[in-house]
Structures are given as C-alpha cells and as structure tokens.
Point group: C2
C-alpha cells in the first residue's frame, strides 16, 4: 500500500547515538498528529547541542548539509529547536521546500492566544525568534531559579521552580506561556504548567508539529 502520510524530516541539533533520544520529538509529533510521518536525524559532533552563539555558528552548516542530503525529498523539514538554527539557510538552499522550526511556530501560536506572551526557558535570554517576532508583546523571559538545563527540571525542586516561574509570568500579565526550549517539551512540563497557571502553555515540539499537520491537511 502506498504511504499517503505527510512526510516530515526532523533535525535534532544535539548529537546522540541513542535512537530513542533522536526519535523522541518525532514520536511526540506522530502521536499528536496522525496524518504526519516523521523521520528524525541528528547533526554529527554536537554533543553539547547549541547553548552559545559559537556553537550555533558551528551547527548551521551541518544542519543545512543534513537537510540537503537526507531530507530533500520530504514534504517538509522541521529544525526541532526553539532557536530555529539553520531554518533561514535551509529555505535558501532548498527553494520550494516547506521549512520551519520550534521557535517561530511557538511564537506564532502563542500570539494567536494572547498578545501578552510570557517566555519560560532555561536561558536568561529568549531565543532570537521570540525577541524578533514578539517585540513588546513579550511580557518577560524567565529562567526558573536554579534551573540551567533540562536535567535540573527533572528534580522536584526544579519542577517547583518552574511552576513558580509560570505563576510569576501570569502575575506579570501573561495571557499565554511560550516555552523557550524544546527540552521542556521532552519532559512534558507544558500540561503541568497549564494546570498550575490556568493559561495556555505552548511547547515547541507540539507547535512545530502543528504546522506540519496544518500543511498536511491543505
């Protein structure tokens, strides 16, 4: 039988030899959006991911190379990172290909919910797309106290800090929370935050997947 699903190539910007880790975002997307089929790959030699400008500069050519070599025949390419590294460059390298990333899709969906967007991430600065697209519609970017990586969020204290950060964003006027890192999606913190804060929480993996789904049904 011919496979009629919408074919997505998903790029992880953190190197891992563990297929379960590499496939994690893709699996979440396929569970949420049944019309979408995702093939995931990670870029090589980037074991620390992208947590600085320099690491971003090193990653982009690898992301573009992977997109061209592995995913040129897909219906869509997702760069599964809230920083959208290489999204612009893949668009230039593969004209006509649908390309997006976790950042701009999260921000777009957040703006459809409220014009007061709180950003909750694991860095002191919001990712580039958040700053660029939101402008003065960003209420604040908050990193939960004591949290510097997604690992810190797996402890009870880390979770607690995260909930406190969400409540603070709401107190500051946020009508929606945009998560600033796909790592927060991985550990499924969006639902817990949503229940605690009572406002919608948008996670980058479900957001980028939503855009693939939206393309798939048109």
């Amino acid at each position: 039988m011919k496979n009629c699903k919408f074919q997505v190539g998903l790029i992880r910007v953190l190197t891992s030899e563990d297929p379960e880790f590499v496939n994690m975002h893709g699996r979440q997307i396929m569970e949420a959006y049944p019309t979408v089929e995702v093939e995931s790959r990670c870029i090589p030699d980037q074991y620390e991911g992208i947590h600085s400008k320099e690491l971003g500069e090193i990653a982009v050519p690898k992301i573009v190379k992977l997109a061209k070599e592995a995913f040129a025949d897909k219906d869509m390419i997702l760069v599964s990172c809230a920083d959208d590294p290489g999204v612009k460059e893949i668009r230039a390298a593969l004209p006509g290909m649908r390309v997006t990333g976790g950042g701009e899709t999260t921000v777009g969906i957040a703006l459809g919910h409220s014009e007061k967007v709180g950003v909750l991430g694991i860095t002191d600065y919001a990712p580039e797309a958040y700053v660029r697209i939101l402008g003065d519609k960003m209420v604040a970017n908050i990193r939960p106290e004591g949290v510097y990586s997604t690992l810190d969020l797996m402890t009870p204290q880390g979770r607690k800090s995260c909930m406190e950060a969400g409540l603070k964003l709401k107190e500051m006027g946020a009508g929606v929370i945009a998560l600033g890192c796909t790592g927060l999606a991985t550990i499924g913190i969006a639902r817990e935050l949503e229940e605690t804060c009572g406002i919608p929480v948008i996670d980058p993996v479900l957001a980028e997947g939503l855009f693939a789904y939206f393309a798939s049904i048109r």
Copy 2:
C-alpha cells in the same frame, strides 16, 4: 456511547435562516479536524453581517449573549469572523472558557510561516487584529480590483483579480498571505491562491479550527 470529541460552539456573525449556511464553517472545521465537534449558531437580526464599525457595535452584545446562553458548557468558543468581534468581551463574560476568533488565529499562524505577511481581503483596511498584532510585519493589505463582497469572487473576473492581488503581495515581498475575511474561506480560494502564488495562504476558518484542534489534543 459517550461522545469524547472536543466540543466547540461556533458563532456566525451574519444572520441566516439557512442551516447549511450557518453550519458551513463548522462543517469545514470538522472535515479538517476529526477530533473536533462543532455546533454553529448565528446572531439574530444581523442580515448584513459586520461591514462597518456601527454594525460591529450592534453585534457585540448579541455575540456575548449567544455565547453565554448557548455555549457556556462547551470546551471552546470560536467567533468565526476575521474581525474577532466580541472575543475580548466573551473572555470577560465567561472566565476560564477558551475563546478565539478568525483574525488573531490567522495572524498567529501567518507569523509562524513568515514575518512578511500580505493581507488579502474585501475591504480597504485590514481587520483590527491584523493591524494590531502584525504592526510593521504587514507588507500590505490589498482588496482585489472590482471586488467588494464575497459574491464578486464567484465570477471569473473576481477570481482573476484575486489571483492578481496575491501575486502583487508576493512581489511586494510577502512570504505568506493571510486572508482578511472568512468569506474567502467559504469559497475555497486559499488553495487556488497558494498554487498560483507559491506561498502559503492562511484562511481564517481553517486557522480558528486549528486552534480548537490544538486545544483538543493537549
């Protein structure tokens, strides 16, 4: 069997005695998003819809009344109009209810595709949410030549003007086209425009439905 679908109340802001007309947006949404069930109602005595500020002011209390009386027990309420009339007011009247409209959702999804948004509608001014949320990210708002209502789009000349307007927006730098009226969705012009222009075209009915779907899967 218990009905587990996500229950949406959809408000049409144009009065009609024809159930097929009233249900049209809801049917499009249910076809596109299988987890969503839509019940549609129209406000009374608004046979011309909302095409002026005055008509908008008359409509809002009727929209809020309908939301409270017919849809207070739904999972979400959609005001199916690119002007989002009454969205803010229903949010205030029904705290905790998810409420959105065709305008802010279309703009949000457009921004997730490109920061250069062309607006194509049937008025000389873009709807309020488009202006407010897009700011300088709106490339232009174009009304196709000779087109003053959705009826004009059903003629070959109207369709041709519409395609010309889309191509002009692309020429002006638009990376995505946001339709400025749900009437354009009704006649299914998005796909034709997308094929002609080669850039994504976001229609308000599919956009508001996408947000209901997104809420339904979380």
